[in-house]
Amino acid sequence: MLPKQEVVAMLLAGGQGSRLGVLTRKVAKPAVPFGGKYRIIDFPLSNCANSGIEAVGVLTQYQPLVLNDYLGNGQPWDLDNDNAGVHILSPYEQKDGAKWYSGTANAIYQNLNFIERYDPEYVLILSGDHIYKMDYSKMISFHAEHNADCTIAVIDVSLEEASRFGIMNTNPDGSIYEFEEKPAHPKSTNASMGIYVFSWDKLKKYLVLDAADPNSSNDFGKNVLPAMLANGERMFAYPFEGYWKDVGTIDSLWEANMDLLDPKTKLDLTEKKNKIYSRNPIMPPHFVADCAEIQNSMIADGCNVYGTLEFSMLFNGVTVKKGAVVTDSILMPGVVVEEGAQVSYAIVSEGTVIGKNAVIGARPEDTENRDDWGIAVVGENLSIGEGAVVPPKAMIDEDIKGVK
C-alpha cells in the first residue's frame, strides 16, 4: 500500500494541438519548446513541485515519444519519488477492448485506479498548454476553506477577449451560479484557466455518472462541471493574479515567447525560490563574437552568435553566422542561420538550416496586404536553400531548394 497523498495532480497532455501545425507534427503540444530552454509542460510540472505536490499523473495520447523521453523518471522536477512521483498514463487495453481517451473527463475516468492508490483528499486537474507560475497549494487551501466540491481558477480578462473563453459568473462570495462557454455577450470577465480542484469523492461520483451517459462527450467543461452545477454542488471561482497565457496557436505561442523579452511581463523566471525546472542539455556557455549585435533578446547555452539579433529568442545550440539578421523570431534548438540570411517574425523548428541569403518571413510594415501577413513557421530538420524566400504566414514542412 502506498502512503497517502493529500493531493494528486492529473495533467492532461494528450492533445494534438493541431493549430500549431508543423510544430506538433511529431510531438504533443506540451512538449513544444518554449522560452529559450523550456518545454511547455515544464510550467505545470514545476508549479506542482513548487507547490509541494508529489504525485502527478501525466495523461498522454498523441505522439508521446518525445514527451515520455522528456519526462523520464521526473528527476529534473524532483518528481522521482519511490512512493509517488510522476507517472505517464497512456490509454491501455481493457477486458472489453482498447479505448482511446475520448475526452478530458474520460481520460481521468480511465485512470481512477491510479488516483485511488493514494487515497487523496483533493484532485488537481491541469492542462499542458498554458504558461504561468502558480502556487497550487493556495488554491487548494481556498477550496478547503470554502468547503467546496469543485474550485475553478479564473483570470480577469478584457471584455473583448472574454468571448474566447469559458466564463464563470459568480456571486459576491465567489460561488459560481452560471457557466457560459465562449459567450457572444459575456456577463463577466472571469475566464476559466482550465485548472480545477475537486474533492476526490465528488470527482469520482461525477466521472462515473458521466461515463454511464452515452450522450456525453466526456469533457470537463461541457459535461462534468455543468452536471455538478445543475445538482447544486458547491462550486467556487478562485481568482488568480499574474501572468497566464494559453499557447495553443502560432500567434499566441510567438507572443508568449516575446512576452519574456518584455521587462514589464509579470512572469519572473529569475526567482531563486520558485524556479521553472527543465531538462538541461549539456552544452558550454554561449559565445558572442566581436561582429555580433544583440538587442533585447534571450540566448541559451551552446549558441554562437556572429550576426545581428533583435527581439529574438535563441534556444540551445543555435548558430547565427556573420551578416545574418534575426529579428522578432524564435529559433529552436540547433538551428543554423547561414551568412547573410534574414529571419523576421518567424518560428524555426529544431535542427533546421537556413541557407545563405535566404529570407524567412517579413515585418508587417513591409507587407503590402496586411491580411497576407503572419508569423512564418519552418518545420524541424529542414534545409532552406541558398537565397530561398519563405513568405510571411507560410508553414513549411519540406526542404526548399536554393535559388542561384
Partner: protein, 372 residues
C-alpha cells in the same frame, strides 16, 4: 572499457596555495572556471567519458563548495549503485597526514584496497583539457608500463608556486630521467599531474616511501621510480592549460574566447558536465552591447561587455562597461561602473559609478561577497 578495470582518484586540495585569492573558502578543484564550470568538472568529465564509473574525491579542508557542487554526482552520471562517487575527507588521526601525496594515499589505503579494479588513475584538477583516458590506459597496457604519466611539450612555468617537472623521454616514450626545475631549458616535456598505475604497485611504493619518511610525488615517488620501474609518458594531444597561478588562471579563461579552443574542449561526444542550476536563458536588454565574450545562462545584461567571461546569474546594469574581466556567479554590477582586468569572485556587488582597473599580468581580484 578502461572503467571495468580502473577507478579514479581525484586530489582536490594540493594546489590551494597556487591561487590564494580564490581558495580562501574553497578547494583548488572547486575554483569557478569558464562561465559555468569549476576546475574539477574537466577531470571528472574526462574520467566519466573514458568509461570510469568509480571515482574517489580526496579532499582535506574547505570542501563545502566542492561537496555542494558535486552532490551525489548525478550531473556526471556518478550517482550509481555500483561504484559511483565517494568523498574521501580526512577522518580521525589522518587530518595531519593529508598534506602530501604519499601520506594522503596511505590514509585512504582502505578505499584502494577494497576496490575490485586492478588499476587506478590519479589526477588533480590543475589541467583544463578534454582527454580520453581510455587511450592512455591502452597505451599503458601496450607498453607494459608500471606507471604511465601525462606530459606535454610546453614552455616551463618558472613560477614560484609550482615545480616544473621535466621528463627525458626515449623514442618508445619511456621516461629515462626526471628533472625538477632545470636551469637551462625554456621548453621541454613537462609533467601533467595525471598517472595510471596498478593499485598494488601504488600501495607498495607508498609503503616504502612512508617507511623512509619520503612524501612528495615528484621528488620521492617519480624521480626514483624511473630507475627502478618501467615509467612511460603519454603525450596529451590538443589544447591543455595548466593552472598554477592567478595569471595562468586568467589566461586559460581568456583562451575560451577562441573558437578553436572551445571546439577542442567542448564537444557533444565528450561533453564537460557540471552542476545544473535551472537558470533561465540570458537576457540582453535594449542598448546592451556584448562583444567577444562567453556568457552563462541566467544573466541580465543591460550594459557593455567586451572580451570577458560572465558566469551564471550576473546582473550588469545600464552604462556599466566591463572589459577583459571574469565576473563570477550572481555578481551585481551597478550602473555606470567601469571594470577592466578584474576578477570578481561570487556574489560581489559593485556599486554604481565605481571604477576598477588591473592589467593582464595582474588582474584585480575582488573576494567573494565583497561590496565595492
Amino acid at each position: 572499457m578502461a572503467g571495468r578495470n580502473m577507478f579514479g582518484l581525484l586530489l582536490t586540495n594540493f594546489q590551494d596555495l597556487y591561487i590564494p585569492e580564490l581558495t580562501t573558502k574553497r578547494t583548488f578543484s572547486s575554483i569557478p572556471f569558464g562561465a559555468k564550470y569549476r576546475l574539477i568538472d574537466f577531470s571528472l568529465s574526462n574520467m566519466v567519458n573514458s568509461g570510469i564509473s568509480k571515482i574517489g574525491v580526496v579532499t582535506k579542508n574547505n570542501y563545502l563548495s566542492l561537496m555542494d557542487h558535486i552532490g551525489s554526482g548525478k550531473a556526471w552520471n556518478l550517482s550509481r549503485r555500483r561504484g559511483g562517487l565517494t568523498f574521501l575527507p580526512p577522518f580521525e588521526n589522518t587530518v595531519d597526514k593529508y598534506n602530501t601525496f604519499v601520506e594522503t594515499i596511505d590514509s585512504i589505503r582502505n578505499f584502494i584496497d577494497h576496490s575490485y579494479e586492478d588499476y587506478v588513475l590519479i589526477s588533480s584538477s590543475m589541467s583544463v583539457v578534454n582527454i580520453d583516458y581510455q587511450q592512455m590506459f591502452n597505451a599503458h597496457l601496450k607498453s607494459n608500463a608500471d606507471i604511465t604519466i601525462c606530459y606535454r611539450n610546453a614552455p616551463l612555468h618558472k613560477s614560484t608556486n609550482s615545480d616544473d617537472v621535466v621528463f627525458s623521454i626515449d623514442s618508445n616514450k619511456r621516461i629515462s630521467e626526471v628533472l625538477i626545475n632545470p636551469r637551462n631549458l625554456e621548453t621541454a616535456d613537462c609533467m601533467i599531474n595525471t598517472c595510471v598505475i596498478k593499485k598494488d604497485l601504488l600501495l607498495d611504493i607508498v609503503s616504502d616511501c612512508m617507511s623512509r619518511s619520503k612524501y612528495t610525488f615528484s621528488r620521492d615517488v617519480i624521480q626514483p621510480c624511473v630507475k627502478e620501474y618501467n615509467v612511460y609518458g603519454y603525450e596529451v594531444p590538443g589544447y591543455c592549460a595548466d593552472i598554477d597561478s592567478i595569471q595562468s588562471y586568467f589566461k586559460a579563461n581568456m583562451d575560451l574566447l577562441s573558437s578553436e579552443v572551445r571546439e577542442e574542449l567542448f564537444n557533444m561526444r565528450n561533453p564537460i558536465y557540471t552542476k545544473i542550476r535551472d537558470d533561465m536563458p540570458t537576457k540582453y536588454g535594449l542598448n546592451s552591447s556584448v562583444k567577444n565574450s562567453l556568457i552563462a545562462p541566467g544573466c541580465v545584461i543591460e550594459g557593455e561587455v567586451e572580451n570577458s567571461i560572465i558566469f551564471k546569474g550576473v546582473r550588469i546594469a545600464k552604462g556599466a562597461k566591463i572589459s577583459n574581466s571574469i565576473i563570477m556567479q550572481d555578481c551585481d554590477i551597478g550602473e555606470n561602473t567601469t571594470l577592466n582586468y578584474v576578477i570578481c569572485d561570487k556574489d560581489v556587488v559593485v556599486s554604481p559609478t565605481r571604477m576598477l582597473c588591473g592589467i593582464d599580468s595582474y588582474p584585480v581580484c575582488i573576494s567573494k561577497k565583497s561590496v565595492v
